[in-house]
Symmetry: C2
Subunit: 129 residues, 2 copies
DNA sequence: TCTTGACCTTCCCCTAACTGGAGCCCTCAT
DNA sequence: ATGAGGGCTCCAGTTAGGGGAAGGTCAAGA
């Protein structure tokens, strides 16, 4: 398979696939003409990476997950721990965003949003509380 | 004031303050020795920027917000619109993160997390559903 | 056979919002 | 005079790729 085929079958842009090769996540063979030559296992790995990235895992997490996936003697506890740590980061981000959301929506609610200059949002940002 | 004073009074790292000058958000004067020389208004602007950034506004949003703040004839509607657009982006991010969270926590729940290799998280990532 | 268009290659720069560090200068106290 | 603790500029790196240039390859049609 050429990169275009793998791209459409995995849903990942060709750029991303080349990047993943660059950083050593996959190692496709090369044809005589220099084109990358992907096997089914490469496609499978790329799909794995795509799903892990969609769950928000970092590239380094993906590297670890792939290694665990390929290690037949892994302990599921290791996978679970990685997932739990990631989950904690997600929860932290949600909490941060939620706090911003709450503050900002409160300010927005207090802003008339008309043609007059008086604005509680700017007032808050400027420190006049 | 030197940059260290402004840094401790605004809570922003000196590096960040230099960066904000670089991109034109503030324009402190210079002393004869080449040191940045901050006025109270600069400090006030930096505090404004710090609060806006803490609410998740991008630097470009901050630039616009500062311009609105300094424009005595602004319409509060313009501020409110910017805030509402930002709020929408925040909500989108929260929804994305929440979806990741739900999927991942479901997988985690199904994973024994022991010394055996069998792992529903890896199984899901590998596409065996 | 030639050409055209689609595909592939590498290479380099760009993103946001800083952070870290090197190498150097300035000032003040000892 | 010297050492500590500022300050200065400039360069590189961070995440996870995206955009685009310059050029090689391949298959189909005229």
């Amino acid at each position: 398979m050429n990169i275009g085929d793998v791209s459409s079958r995995s849903g990942l842009p060709a750029k991303t696939i080349r990047y993943y090769e660059d950083i050593g996540l996959i190692k496709p063979h090369r044809s005589a003409n220099g084109y990358r030559c992907f096997a089914e296992t490469d496609l499978h790995k790329l799909a794995f990476l795509g799903r892990a990235r969609a769950l928000g895992f970092t590239i380094e997490d993906c590297r670890t997950l792939m290694a665990l996936y390929e290690d037949e003697s892994r302990a599921s506890a290791d996978v679970k721990q990685l997932a739990l740590e990631h989950l904690a980061k997600i929860e932290e981000k949600i909490a941060d965003l939620q706090a911003m959301h709450d503050t900002l929506s409160e300010l927005v609610k207090c802003c008339a949003g008309d043609s007059r200059p008086d604005c509680p949002i700017l007032k808050d940002l400027s420190g006049e509380s």
